[in-house]
Symmetry: D2
Subunit: 379 residues, 4 copies
């Protein structure tokens, strides 16, 4: 991982105050490779929370801001070599667009948690803003940061499994099987902060994104049914869809947050006319590969048998498990490198606004199909 000039890239953060989950994950990921400094934050609407968070993180008091607007203004006014270079947006979904738009317009790069925005319309508007500002925008579809996901994509691209026919992708969790009385559950199950979908917006989008990424093809149509199993829940906590891809393959996507005992069960299987592959997030360092004429193989992270893209995402030799934070950090390190390299709009190795728009279109389509008794709906 050659780094060119060695100064750390300066990051600001919106969201991620005490009590939040994903903000801390972003910070750990950003810190891992020692290439990024968190220099400022608007961690919460509650300035006391922001101050407490900032103190824990050892951030200068005068770079803790009461609002994202204040942050953009103040940071933009600082000398170029001191002000933040990008902002990580780790708020609930409804705040993604306003913060991203403000940051881009103020000249900052943006690394945003998924889904890109609250609505498809916002995502499309954001795409326009990126085009106009030439701002760099990244979307943290974390799972694309795993080495063996790169390996899978590369092997499909090289034709190792032949023409893709079938994709099974699923993301099963159990943590919302009962009523949950915490911050994480509250915003995710509230349409105002989460959007028109709960489960599909939160994790179904990851599954959709992973399927399109590995197969390098697009879901063009789907037929779905979403359900809210827990009484009183306003948004889906479960759902499944039949999929049609632009390359003629078909698939099944399921996502659920009521599968008791499942933790973070994202997995994908892809079959072509010459082979197949399976990857599971909970044991991310293995990729099972089947072939029509040979025993199945297990490709492993950190070995000599990987593509360049996969290899460069491994920090340690085979057998030293790298996990979720390392995958996340792979997106951060690529985003930081893109800033150093002066890349515009899209950072090499990091999903961008195109994936963001796809994700929002997926959410709208899957909700729409479910609302229309599972009729086939175009994305």
């Amino acid at each position: 991982m050659a780094l060119g000039d060695n100064k750390k890239v300066r990051m600001g953060m919106v969201g991620g105050g005490q009590g939040a989950f994903i903000g801390e994950v972003h910070r750990l990921a950003a810190a891992l490779d020692g290439k990024i400094d968190l220099v400022c934050g608007a961690f919460s609407r509650d300035m006391e929370n922001t101050k407490a968070t900032g103190a824990l993180l050892n951030i200068d008091d005068n770079r803790l801001y009461a609002s994202f607007d204040e942050m953009m203004t103040a940071e933009a006014a600082m000398p170029a070599e001191e002000r933040m270079e990008f902002v990580a947006i780790v708020t609930p979904n409804h705040m993604h667009f306003p913060v991203a738009a403000a940051a881009l317009k103020a000249g900052f790069a943006v690394l945003c948690d998924k889904p890109a925005t609250l609505t498809l319309a916002e995502a499309e508007e954001l795409e326009v803003i990126i085009d106009e500002t030439h701002g760099l925008f990244g979307l943290t579809h974390t799972y694309l940061g795993y080495p063996m996901v790169s390996q899978a994509r590369d092997m499909v691209a090289k034709g190792e499994i032949g023409a893709v026919r079938k994709v099974y992708v699923e993301y099963h969790q159990g943590w919302l099987a009962g009523e949950q009385d915490n911050k994480q559950a509250a915003w995710r199950t509230n349409p105002k902060t989460s959007g028109i979908s709960g489960c599909m917006g939160d994790i179904g989008t990851h599954a959709h994104n992973l399927a399109e990424y590995i197969t390098d093809s697009l879901v063009v149509e789907l037929a779905s049914e979403l359900t809210a199993f827990v009484a009183g829940r306003q948004l889906d906590d479960d759902g499944a869809a039949l999929l049609r891809f632009d390359n003629g393959s078909t698939g099944v996507l399921s996502a659920s947050q009521v599968c008791v005992g499942e933790e973070n069960g994202l997995s994908i299987r892809v079959y072509g006319d010459k082979g197949g592959m399976q990857w599971r997030q909970q044991e991310p360092n293995s990729l099972r590969v089947t072939r029509i004429d040979a025993p199945e193989q297990l490709y492993r992270a950190g070995t000599d048998h990987l593509t360049d893209a996969a290899s460069r995402r491994c920090r340690t030799p085979a057998g030293h498990p790298e996990g979720y934070l390392e995958a996340f950090a792979n997106l951060y390190i690529d985003f930081a490198a893109a800033i150093k390299a002066g890349e515009k709009k899209k950072a090499t190795g990091v999903p961008g606004i195109k994936e963001g728009v796809r994700g929002m279109a997926f959410i709208e389509a899957i909700v729409d199909s479910s609302n229309n008794n599972s009729r086939w709906t175009k994305i």
Copy 2:
């Protein structure tokens, strides 16, 4: 395994000549526990094949028959203590009904490979015949013979996972990923011998049956898409469906014969509001159980932790893997016991015509839905 009187039960067989697959499996299963004697057969339309098969099986020449009709007539004319007591039907699907009808009318019990018949109408007619003749009829949905499938059903019934919400069932094979030039493939992909569905009739029915059995509930509606991926194939070799059950749970069923590298990948996951479970046919002696408030558990065949129904289906202590033939034999031993006990119509422990009709209705519904752009279709 109570045995009552110890004389072996006498079995005849229709189908299963040399070159067939499932006939030999039936014979191994019937032989395993030493309770059944194969005494006669009409193994093939080709009398030479029947004779050769009979010779290998050490069957008296004069009980090798040129046709099933001849077999019914001749056996019925033999002394009661010598003639066959039941016939195993192991032909391609289109011959199930005629043979079963003839056997029942001639007073013989029938143990038939699945699916029950070629069409739903035939299955319903067969049900009438069973009702009228009071004949004993069993259907070899093999997978119900596994101990841990009984365990799963019993644990659901006892409420150990709470109210069922979600069922994922799949049956993925790869052997038809290319063109196949053998007898097995030929009849399964031919509508005349296989019926209106290929993959769904062959293995989708097993998945459907397993889901209804374990959850003790019925699929009432489905939305499906079936595909024939291999060029020139007349019947589906792949498909998936969204499911709605009569108890309000929902599900996903997928079946495919083009998943390169998959062998006989039947698996099911069921989630309720208190727990979940997972069973996989390729490692059939384990049942993974999740619980909302405790670490997941692994229930294992042959241990002290099983229900009575599961325990009685284990022949050996834990750790001595029992497999497919043993599961199959469990149906045979129960069917033989039912004959000895004089049971009528339905043998305890063995699927019967009700499951047969359900299976045919499932096939008709899943083909119908697919033909109508995946609209929800009642079973």
Copy 3:
């Protein structure tokens, strides 16, 4: 599985009365392929038990014998085409030698449970008897009957893992972790019926046999420590040994019956200078193969990628799990074929007296080493 002439081979049995374990396993295995008839038995010292057992098995009353001596005499006096052709010995260890010797001298083939005898001296004497009588003798080291064990041996022989360097073999059970109050435990922990070793005689011999079989090399020396963990137990219930092989490789063998929660955990790993392999009895249809320059592979029973010896031991296509009884039956079917073929002394595909002597020598050496503070002891 070519069958030659189709008459079933006639088997007698000594041991295996009600309450026994392994006798029933032998009967199931013998029955599975429909090539063997159990025609007579001396199932117990208790004639009531023998009669009850025989009744359940539907054996003619006049072929149920009060003692093995009576059985040999009476059967030898029957017409050649009716009398038993071989005897299965399924008694506790101390009865193996007397029964085997009597049977061989009476002209019957012998298929004996392991270990071959109570002492090494007996085994050597038995070898002499076999030489003199030219009698056919087989030893049911069951695990050699698994297809993937044949595959492993064949791949080592073909040099696929290079020169063997290292063998790890283990057999861990937990059923004797506490005091056990049943027949199975009673004779196995009693020196009079079991011999000088408990755990090593019962299961350590299987591990030793498997290691020598797969690597086609001999353990020449070992250094061991055996333990009886349960208070009052007279024989070892646990032990381990360092191993030296005649080909310069080294190894570790461990066996235990006090590993709580382990079922029948026999597994072996073999490493050469070009690759390695791992096989586990509880998932017997897979063989993991590592290679120095390629991703690891999973060889699976029933696929096209097996050696001839492995393929012929599979009854069903890949994905239809075959287990312990099928492995056992593979030894029975080979033994029956050897009888039909008129083989002498050693049946193709079945361990013989050579393996029996090796096993007893192993037991004596491992006990001796342990009694001498683990000094290196030759086998």
Copy 4:
């Protein structure tokens, strides 16, 4: 993760220049939680390497030192609030003692890679120095940093598996199966830099340490055989030992670097009279627990079912795999906390000199036993 005052702890490093492996791992681990700043280094004997490494790490030029001596002197002369607070030693083994001794005498805390020193005598001398200086000393037995290792130790301590009887611990790698022409291999196989043992010093010590840590007991005696399989190799690349513990339990330890295809296969199984447990480093987030009277359970990192010590070592909810770097970082964060808390000699949560001395005594004993034909040798 309470943090007290939020200023980062200042770290220096000796070793870890470009081309090294473990130095980079230490840096990633130190960076992960954002609590530690790397402020100075003597990364290599080659000042050009040190400068290049320092530049990549963005360290001030004037804090890059030509030797560890120079570093100690220069840093000690800096103002207390600027100078490094501890030094991470990541050199080959022969340099551990001189650097640690110098650092401790100069008043710096020391976090040292394992094994503690080149010889047992050095380790004992280091213990004296620590006693005299009251300096804080930590040893990075990385694997103790995994949450499920803490869980295992806590469950043993609480008696959940009863009185420990048996320990199987192994550490199998394959990377030295052939001749290796790189820096990592060179120093590890050279007695001058590695000490009297290759494989056992490098990874056997980890296995030994893990066994003693989880069971909270000591290996008092061992009987071993070590081998150098690769021609010309001066130190063992493989070995195994029978173990006796101070609590009456026994065990087997094996370590190898010639197991082709194995990556970093550290695993441990512990059995008591009431239960057992198994942990494997390559899937570190699971702990399999067996119980004498219940189905086996799978404890998982990040769930509600963990002890406090295990829980506090998880950063993310269940299902977000944490790996090797996170385990390593757990030692770093505890060491940094100990510095802040003013702990002396031993940092809470981090192995110290006692474990270091144990490790060196283990190495001496295992080599000694092997040199004396595996005689039992006291540690």
